[in-house]
Symmetry: C2
Subunit: 221 residues, 2 copies
Protein backbone atom coordinates (compact mmCIF):
# COMPACT_ATOMS: atom_id res chain seq x y z
CA UNK A 1 0.00 0.00 0.00
CA UNK A 2 0.88 3.64 -0.20
CA UNK A 3 1.81 5.89 2.68
CA UNK A 4 -0.32 8.87 3.65
CA UNK A 5 2.32 11.13 2.19
CA UNK A 6 2.41 9.32 -1.12
CA UNK A 7 -1.37 9.47 -1.32
CA UNK A 8 -1.32 13.21 -0.67
CA UNK A 9 1.18 13.78 -3.45
CA UNK A 10 -0.85 11.68 -5.87
CA UNK A 11 -3.95 13.62 -5.03
CA UNK A 12 -2.21 16.96 -5.45
CA UNK A 13 -0.85 15.95 -8.85
CA UNK A 14 -4.30 14.80 -9.93
CA UNK A 15 -5.86 18.12 -8.93
CA UNK A 16 -3.18 20.10 -10.71
CA UNK A 17 -3.57 18.05 -13.87
CA UNK A 18 -7.31 18.62 -13.67
CA UNK A 19 -7.12 22.41 -13.65
CA UNK A 20 -3.92 23.10 -15.57
CA UNK A 21 -3.17 20.59 -18.24
CA UNK A 22 -0.26 18.86 -19.94
CA UNK A 23 2.23 18.16 -17.18
CA UNK A 24 2.60 19.39 -13.62
CA UNK A 25 5.72 21.21 -12.45
CA UNK A 26 7.74 20.51 -9.34
CA UNK A 27 7.17 24.02 -8.04
CA UNK A 28 3.42 23.80 -8.55
CA UNK A 29 3.31 20.68 -6.40
CA UNK A 30 5.56 22.24 -3.79
CA UNK A 31 3.33 25.27 -3.55
CA UNK A 32 0.12 23.26 -3.31
CA UNK A 33 1.55 21.07 -0.58
CA UNK A 34 3.33 23.76 1.39
CA UNK A 35 6.64 22.03 1.03
CA UNK A 36 9.91 22.64 -0.77
CA UNK A 37 10.80 21.76 -4.34
CA UNK A 38 13.64 19.52 -3.16
CA UNK A 39 11.20 17.38 -1.19
CA UNK A 40 8.96 17.11 -4.21
CA UNK A 41 11.79 15.90 -6.39
CA UNK A 42 12.59 13.17 -3.89
CA UNK A 43 8.99 12.05 -3.80
CA UNK A 44 8.62 12.12 -7.57
CA UNK A 45 11.51 9.70 -7.86
CA UNK A 46 9.83 7.39 -5.42
CA UNK A 47 6.43 7.59 -7.10
CA UNK A 48 8.10 7.03 -10.43
CA UNK A 49 9.81 3.90 -9.12
CA UNK A 50 6.36 2.70 -8.04
CA UNK A 51 5.00 3.41 -11.53
CA UNK A 52 2.46 5.87 -10.23
CA UNK A 53 3.77 8.83 -12.23
CA UNK A 54 5.56 9.45 -15.50
CA UNK A 55 8.54 11.49 -14.52
CA UNK A 56 11.58 12.72 -16.37
CA UNK A 57 14.07 15.11 -14.84
CA UNK A 58 13.20 18.75 -15.43
CA UNK A 59 10.19 17.78 -17.56
CA UNK A 60 7.39 17.70 -15.03
CA UNK A 61 5.06 14.79 -14.26
CA UNK A 62 1.81 13.18 -15.27
CA UNK A 63 -0.01 10.30 -13.64
CA UNK A 64 0.18 6.78 -15.01
CA UNK A 65 -3.05 4.79 -15.32
CA UNK A 66 -2.20 3.21 -12.00
CA UNK A 67 -1.57 6.62 -10.44
CA UNK A 68 -4.83 7.99 -11.73
CA UNK A 69 -6.73 5.04 -10.36
CA UNK A 70 -5.11 5.62 -7.00
CA UNK A 71 -6.02 9.31 -7.12
CA UNK A 72 -9.62 8.61 -8.01
CA UNK A 73 -9.93 6.17 -5.15
CA UNK A 74 -8.67 8.76 -2.67
CA UNK A 75 -10.99 11.39 -4.09
CA UNK A 76 -13.89 8.96 -3.89
CA UNK A 77 -13.19 8.42 -0.23
CA UNK A 78 -12.71 12.11 0.45
CA UNK A 79 -15.98 13.14 -1.17
CA UNK A 80 -18.01 10.34 0.37
CA UNK A 81 -16.72 11.26 3.82
CA UNK A 82 -17.53 14.91 3.20
CA UNK A 83 -21.08 13.98 2.25
CA UNK A 84 -21.35 11.84 5.33
CA UNK A 85 -20.10 14.51 7.70
CA UNK A 86 -22.42 17.13 6.28
CA UNK A 87 -25.51 14.96 5.97
CA UNK A 88 -25.26 12.80 9.06
CA UNK A 89 -23.03 14.62 11.51
CA UNK A 90 -24.12 18.25 11.11
CA UNK A 91 -20.79 19.49 9.84
CA UNK A 92 -20.76 22.74 7.88
CA UNK A 93 -18.81 22.81 4.64
CA UNK A 94 -15.94 24.76 6.11
CA UNK A 95 -15.53 22.27 8.97
CA UNK A 96 -15.53 19.29 6.69
CA UNK A 97 -12.28 19.50 4.83
CA UNK A 98 -9.65 18.84 7.52
CA UNK A 99 -11.46 15.80 8.86
CA UNK A 100 -12.08 14.37 5.40
CA UNK A 101 -8.35 14.79 4.68
CA UNK A 102 -7.73 12.39 7.53
CA UNK A 103 -10.55 9.98 6.82
CA UNK A 104 -9.65 9.62 3.14
CA UNK A 105 -6.59 7.58 4.11
CA UNK A 106 -8.42 4.89 6.07
CA UNK A 107 -7.89 1.57 4.37
CA UNK A 108 -10.95 -0.64 4.16
CA UNK A 109 -12.87 -1.52 1.04
CA UNK A 110 -15.83 -2.63 3.06
CA UNK A 111 -15.92 0.62 5.00
CA UNK A 112 -16.14 2.69 1.83
CA UNK A 113 -18.66 0.44 0.16
CA UNK A 114 -20.89 0.60 3.22
CA UNK A 115 -20.42 4.34 3.42
CA UNK A 116 -21.46 4.64 -0.21
CA UNK A 117 -24.53 2.51 0.45
CA UNK A 118 -25.36 4.45 3.63
CA UNK A 119 -25.43 7.65 1.60
CA UNK A 120 -27.46 5.99 -1.15
CA UNK A 121 -24.74 6.02 -3.80
CA UNK A 122 -24.46 9.74 -4.44
CA UNK A 123 -23.14 10.80 -7.87
CA UNK A 124 -21.95 14.26 -6.90
CA UNK A 125 -21.08 15.93 -3.63
CA UNK A 126 -22.82 19.15 -2.62
CA UNK A 127 -20.04 21.17 -4.26
CA UNK A 128 -21.22 19.64 -7.50
CA UNK A 129 -18.00 17.65 -7.67
CA UNK A 130 -18.52 14.18 -9.09
CA UNK A 131 -17.84 11.20 -6.83
CA UNK A 132 -15.96 8.38 -8.56
CA UNK A 133 -17.74 5.04 -8.27
CA UNK A 134 -16.23 1.88 -6.80
CA UNK A 135 -14.47 1.17 -10.10
CA UNK A 136 -12.95 4.64 -10.14
CA UNK A 137 -15.23 5.89 -12.89
CA UNK A 138 -16.32 9.49 -12.87
CA UNK A 139 -19.88 10.17 -13.90
CA UNK A 140 -19.13 13.45 -15.53
CA UNK A 141 -21.80 16.03 -15.41
CA UNK A 142 -23.42 16.74 -18.72
CA UNK A 143 -22.87 20.23 -19.96
CA UNK A 144 -25.92 22.47 -20.26
CA UNK A 145 -26.47 25.78 -22.05
CA UNK A 146 -25.58 28.82 -19.98
CA UNK A 147 -29.15 30.02 -20.51
CA UNK A 148 -30.38 27.40 -18.04
CA UNK A 149 -28.48 28.87 -15.10
CA UNK A 150 -29.48 31.61 -12.70
CA UNK A 151 -28.20 34.75 -11.02
CA UNK A 152 -25.08 34.11 -8.90
CA UNK A 153 -24.40 30.71 -10.46
CA UNK A 154 -20.79 30.12 -11.34
CA UNK A 155 -19.93 27.77 -14.16
CA UNK A 156 -17.18 26.73 -16.49
CA UNK A 157 -17.21 26.84 -20.28
CA UNK A 158 -17.01 23.36 -21.78
CA UNK A 159 -18.11 23.90 -25.35
CA UNK A 160 -20.55 25.46 -27.77
CA UNK A 161 -23.73 24.39 -29.54
CA UNK A 162 -23.40 26.56 -32.60
CA UNK A 163 -20.07 25.93 -34.26
CA UNK A 164 -20.48 28.53 -37.02
CA UNK A 165 -17.48 30.78 -37.73
CA UNK A 166 -19.49 33.90 -37.02
CA UNK A 167 -20.40 32.69 -33.55
CA UNK A 168 -16.87 31.52 -32.76
CA UNK A 169 -15.51 34.82 -33.99
CA UNK A 170 -17.92 36.59 -31.67
CA UNK A 171 -16.78 34.48 -28.72
CA UNK A 172 -13.18 35.13 -29.50
CA UNK A 173 -13.75 38.86 -29.65
CA UNK A 174 -15.46 38.82 -26.25
CA UNK A 175 -12.58 36.80 -24.80
CA UNK A 176 -14.43 33.54 -24.11
CA UNK A 177 -12.05 30.58 -23.79
CA UNK A 178 -12.73 26.96 -22.97
CA UNK A 179 -12.30 26.48 -19.23
CA UNK A 180 -13.08 30.10 -18.43
CA UNK A 181 -15.25 30.72 -15.41
CA UNK A 182 -18.51 32.58 -15.88
CA UNK A 183 -20.47 34.20 -13.12
CA UNK A 184 -24.02 35.37 -13.81
CA UNK A 185 -24.37 38.83 -12.31
CA UNK A 186 -27.83 39.72 -13.46
CA UNK A 187 -30.62 38.61 -15.75
CA UNK A 188 -33.18 40.77 -17.55
CA UNK A 189 -36.63 39.26 -17.38
CA UNK A 190 -38.01 40.79 -20.53
CA UNK A 191 -35.47 39.34 -22.99
CA UNK A 192 -33.52 36.90 -20.78
CA UNK A 193 -30.27 38.67 -21.58
CA UNK A 194 -27.50 38.13 -19.06
CA UNK A 195 -24.94 40.33 -17.36
CA UNK A 196 -21.93 38.10 -16.81
CA UNK A 197 -18.34 38.24 -15.70
CA UNK A 198 -15.72 36.00 -17.31
CA UNK A 199 -12.79 34.97 -15.11
CA UNK A 200 -13.66 37.74 -12.66
CA UNK A 201 -13.05 40.43 -15.25
CA UNK A 202 -15.36 43.42 -15.78
CA UNK A 203 -18.91 42.28 -16.51
CA UNK A 204 -20.76 42.72 -19.81
CA UNK A 205 -24.02 41.69 -21.47
CA UNK A 206 -24.87 38.79 -23.73
CA UNK A 207 -28.18 37.96 -25.37
CA UNK A 208 -30.25 34.88 -24.60
CA UNK A 209 -29.37 33.66 -28.09
CA UNK A 210 -25.73 33.67 -27.20
CA UNK A 211 -26.37 32.09 -23.77
CA UNK A 212 -28.23 29.22 -25.41
CA UNK A 213 -25.17 28.39 -27.46
CA UNK A 214 -22.53 28.35 -24.76
CA UNK A 215 -22.20 25.00 -22.95
CA UNK A 216 -21.13 25.03 -19.33
CA UNK A 217 -21.07 22.90 -16.22
CA UNK A 218 -21.53 24.08 -12.66
CA UNK A 219 -18.22 25.20 -11.18
CA UNK A 220 -16.16 22.49 -9.47
CA UNK A 221 -14.28 24.08 -6.62
Amino acid sequence: MHSFTEENYIKAIYKLLESNDETVSTNAIAERMNTKAASVTDMLKKLSAKKLVNYQKYQGVTLTAKGEKTALNIIRKHRLWEMFLVEKFNFTWDEVHDVAEQLEHIQSEKLIDELDKFLNFPKVDPHGDPIPDAKGKLHLQKSKPLSQFNIDDVCVITGVVDHSPSFLRYLDKQGFVLGNEIKIKDMADFDRSLQISVNKRASFFISNDVAKNILVIAKQI
Copy 2:
Protein backbone atom coordinates in the same frame (compact mmCIF):
# COMPACT_ATOMS: atom_id res chain seq x y z
CA MET B 1 -0.59 16.43 19.46
CA HIS B 2 0.71 12.89 19.64
CA SER B 3 1.79 10.73 16.71
CA PHE B 4 -0.07 7.56 15.83
CA THR B 5 2.82 5.58 17.21
CA GLU B 6 2.83 7.41 20.51
CA GLU B 7 -0.90 6.86 20.82
CA ASN B 8 -0.49 3.16 20.18
CA TYR B 9 2.14 2.87 22.89
CA ILE B 10 -0.04 4.75 25.35
CA LYS B 11 -2.95 2.49 24.63
CA ALA B 12 -0.85 -0.64 24.98
CA ILE B 13 0.47 0.53 28.34
CA TYR B 14 -3.05 1.31 29.52
CA LYS B 15 -4.28 -2.16 28.59
CA LEU B 16 -1.36 -3.83 30.29
CA LEU B 17 -1.89 -1.81 33.45
CA GLU B 18 -5.55 -2.77 33.35
CA SER B 19 -4.95 -6.51 33.35
CA ASN B 20 -1.66 -6.86 35.18
CA ASP B 21 -1.08 -4.27 37.81
CA GLU B 22 1.68 -2.25 39.43
CA THR B 23 4.00 -1.31 36.61
CA VAL B 24 4.41 -2.50 33.05
CA SER B 25 7.65 -3.99 31.78
CA THR B 26 9.51 -3.10 28.62
CA ASN B 27 9.26 -6.66 27.36
CA ALA B 28 5.51 -6.83 27.97
CA ILE B 29 5.03 -3.75 25.81
CA ALA B 30 7.37 -5.10 23.14
CA GLU B 31 5.44 -8.34 22.98
CA ARG B 32 2.04 -6.68 22.81
CA MET B 33 3.16 -4.35 20.05
CA ASN B 34 5.18 -6.86 18.04
CA THR B 35 8.28 -4.79 18.30
CA LYS B 36 11.66 -5.03 19.99
CA ALA B 37 12.54 -4.08 23.55
CA ALA B 38 15.10 -1.56 22.30
CA SER B 39 12.40 0.30 20.38
CA VAL B 40 10.22 0.36 23.46
CA THR B 41 12.97 1.86 25.55
CA ASP B 42 13.42 4.65 23.02
CA MET B 43 9.72 5.40 23.02
CA LEU B 44 9.46 5.31 26.81
CA LYS B 45 12.09 8.03 27.01
CA LYS B 46 10.12 10.15 24.62
CA LEU B 47 6.81 9.59 26.39
CA SER B 48 8.50 10.34 29.67
CA ALA B 49 9.83 13.64 28.32
CA LYS B 50 6.26 14.47 27.32
CA LYS B 51 5.06 13.63 30.84
CA LEU B 52 2.77 10.90 29.61
CA VAL B 53 4.42 8.11 31.59
CA ASN B 54 6.37 7.71 34.81
CA TYR B 55 9.51 5.97 33.75
CA GLN B 56 12.72 5.09 35.52
CA LYS B 57 15.39 2.93 33.91
CA TYR B 58 14.92 -0.76 34.54
CA GLN B 59 11.90 -0.08 36.76
CA GLY B 60 9.03 -0.32 34.32
CA VAL B 61 6.38 2.33 33.61
CA THR B 62 3.02 3.60 34.71
CA LEU B 63 0.85 6.26 33.10
CA THR B 64 0.70 9.78 34.47
CA ALA B 65 -2.71 11.41 34.87
CA LYS B 66 -2.12 13.07 31.52
CA GLY B 67 -1.17 9.73 29.96
CA GLU B 68 -4.24 8.04 31.33
CA LYS B 69 -6.47 10.77 30.02
CA THR B 70 -4.89 10.33 26.61
CA ALA B 71 -5.40 6.57 26.76
CA LEU B 72 -9.04 6.89 27.74
CA ASN B 73 -9.67 9.28 24.89
CA ILE B 74 -8.22 6.83 22.38
CA ILE B 75 -10.21 3.96 23.87
CA ARG B 76 -13.35 6.09 23.74
CA LYS B 77 -12.80 6.69 20.06
CA HIS B 78 -11.96 3.07 19.36
CA ARG B 79 -15.06 1.69 21.07
CA LEU B 80 -17.41 4.26 19.59
CA TRP B 81 -16.15 3.47 16.11
CA GLU B 82 -16.54 -0.24 16.77
CA MET B 83 -20.14 0.33 17.81
CA PHE B 84 -20.72 2.43 14.74
CA LEU B 85 -19.29 -0.11 12.32
CA VAL B 86 -21.28 -2.95 13.81
CA GLU B 87 -24.56 -1.12 14.23
CA LYS B 88 -24.62 1.05 11.11
CA PHE B 89 -22.27 -0.54 8.62
CA ASN B 90 -22.99 -4.25 9.03
CA PHE B 91 -19.51 -5.15 10.21
CA THR B 92 -19.08 -8.35 12.17
CA TRP B 93 -17.04 -8.22 15.35
CA ASP B 94 -14.03 -9.85 13.82
CA GLU B 95 -13.95 -7.35 10.93
CA VAL B 96 -14.20 -4.38 13.21
CA HIS B 97 -10.90 -4.25 14.98
CA ASP B 98 -8.44 -3.32 12.22
CA VAL B 99 -10.58 -0.50 10.93
CA ALA B 100 -11.25 0.87 14.41
CA GLU B 101 -7.48 0.84 15.01
CA GLN B 102 -7.18 3.28 12.15
CA LEU B 103 -10.23 5.39 12.94
CA GLU B 104 -9.27 5.86 16.58
CA HIS B 105 -6.46 8.20 15.53
CA ILE B 106 -8.61 10.68 13.64
CA GLN B 107 -8.37 14.04 15.32
CA SER B 108 -11.65 15.91 15.61
CA GLU B 109 -13.56 16.59 18.80
CA LYS B 110 -16.68 17.38 16.87
CA LEU B 111 -16.49 14.13 14.92
CA ILE B 112 -16.40 12.06 18.10
CA ASP B 113 -19.10 14.04 19.85
CA GLU B 114 -21.38 13.65 16.86
CA LEU B 115 -20.54 9.97 16.62
CA ASP B 116 -21.43 9.58 20.29
CA LYS B 117 -24.72 11.38 19.72
CA PHE B 118 -25.44 9.36 16.57
CA LEU B 119 -25.10 6.17 18.60
CA ASN B 120 -27.22 7.60 21.41
CA PHE B 121 -24.43 7.86 23.98
CA PRO B 122 -23.75 4.18 24.60
CA LYS B 123 -22.22 3.31 27.97
CA VAL B 124 -20.72 -0.04 26.98
CA ASP B 125 -19.78 -1.61 23.70
CA PRO B 126 -21.20 -5.00 22.71
CA HIS B 127 -18.16 -6.70 24.24
CA GLY B 128 -19.39 -5.33 27.54
CA ASP B 129 -16.40 -2.99 27.61
CA PRO B 130 -17.23 0.40 29.07
CA ILE B 131 -16.96 3.45 26.79
CA PRO B 132 -15.33 6.45 28.47
CA ASP B 133 -17.50 9.57 28.26
CA ALA B 134 -16.36 12.88 26.75
CA LYS B 135 -14.60 13.77 30.00
CA GLY B 136 -12.72 10.46 29.99
CA LYS B 137 -14.76 8.98 32.80
CA LEU B 138 -15.44 5.27 32.79
CA HIS B 139 -18.81 4.14 33.95
CA LEU B 140 -17.54 0.96 35.48
CA GLN B 141 -19.81 -1.99 35.50
CA LYS B 142 -20.84 -3.10 38.92
CA SER B 143 -19.81 -6.60 39.79
CA LYS B 144 -22.60 -9.13 40.26
CA PRO B 145 -22.66 -12.58 41.84
CA LEU B 146 -21.83 -15.39 39.45
CA SER B 147 -25.22 -16.92 40.31
CA GLN B 148 -26.92 -14.22 38.23
CA PHE B 149 -25.28 -15.34 34.97
CA ASN B 150 -26.41 -17.96 32.50
CA ILE B 151 -25.14 -20.84 30.42
CA ASP B 152 -22.35 -19.83 28.01
CA ASP B 153 -21.73 -16.52 29.74
CA VAL B 154 -18.08 -15.71 30.22
CA CYS B 155 -17.06 -13.50 33.11
CA VAL B 156 -14.12 -12.42 35.16
CA ILE B 157 -13.68 -12.79 38.91
CA THR B 158 -13.53 -9.41 40.63
CA GLY B 159 -14.12 -10.29 44.25
CA VAL B 160 -16.12 -12.20 46.83
CA VAL B 161 -19.12 -11.51 49.06
CA ASP B 162 -18.25 -13.89 51.88
CA HIS B 163 -14.76 -13.08 53.16
CA SER B 164 -14.60 -15.91 55.72
CA PRO B 165 -11.38 -17.95 55.88
CA SER B 166 -13.24 -21.16 55.16
CA PHE B 167 -14.67 -19.78 51.92
CA LEU B 168 -11.39 -18.27 50.80
CA ARG B 169 -9.63 -21.54 51.60
CA TYR B 170 -12.20 -23.33 49.44
CA LEU B 171 -11.61 -20.93 46.55
CA ASP B 172 -7.89 -21.37 46.84
CA LYS B 173 -8.18 -25.12 46.76
CA GLN B 174 -10.32 -24.98 43.60
CA GLY B 175 -7.81 -22.65 42.01
CA PHE B 176 -9.93 -19.47 41.80
CA VAL B 177 -7.83 -16.34 41.44
CA LEU B 178 -8.89 -12.73 41.00
CA GLY B 179 -8.97 -11.95 37.31
CA ASN B 180 -9.59 -15.56 36.30
CA GLU B 181 -12.06 -16.14 33.52
CA ILE B 182 -15.10 -18.27 34.26
CA LYS B 183 -17.28 -19.85 31.62
CA ILE B 184 -20.60 -21.34 32.63
CA LYS B 185 -20.90 -24.71 30.91
CA ASP B 186 -24.13 -25.95 32.42
CA MET B 187 -26.68 -25.21 35.09
CA ALA B 188 -28.82 -27.70 37.02
CA ASP B 189 -32.37 -26.46 37.39
CA PHE B 190 -33.22 -28.31 40.54
CA ASP B 191 -30.51 -26.83 42.80
CA ARG B 192 -29.02 -24.09 40.55
CA SER B 193 -25.59 -25.66 40.83
CA LEU B 194 -23.20 -24.73 38.02
CA GLN B 195 -20.75 -26.59 35.88
CA ILE B 196 -17.98 -24.11 35.12
CA SER B 197 -14.54 -23.90 33.59
CA VAL B 198 -11.93 -21.57 35.05
CA ASN B 199 -9.38 -20.14 32.61
CA LYS B 200 -10.35 -22.78 30.07
CA ARG B 201 -9.22 -25.61 32.33
CA ALA B 202 -11.24 -28.79 32.90
CA SER B 203 -14.73 -27.99 34.14
CA PHE B 204 -16.10 -28.83 37.59
CA PHE B 205 -19.20 -28.17 39.70
CA ILE B 206 -19.96 -25.50 42.26
CA SER B 207 -23.08 -25.08 44.36
CA ASN B 208 -25.43 -22.12 44.09
CA ASP B 209 -24.22 -21.09 47.57
CA VAL B 210 -20.72 -20.73 46.20
CA ALA B 211 -21.90 -18.97 43.02
CA LYS B 212 -23.76 -16.38 45.11
CA ASN B 213 -20.52 -15.47 46.83
CA ILE B 214 -18.26 -15.02 43.84
CA LEU B 215 -18.41 -11.54 42.30
CA VAL B 216 -17.79 -11.23 38.58
CA ILE B 217 -18.26 -8.89 35.65
CA ALA B 218 -19.06 -9.84 32.09
CA LYS B 219 -15.89 -10.63 30.19
CA GLN B 220 -14.09 -7.67 28.61
CA ILE B 221 -12.20 -8.90 25.60
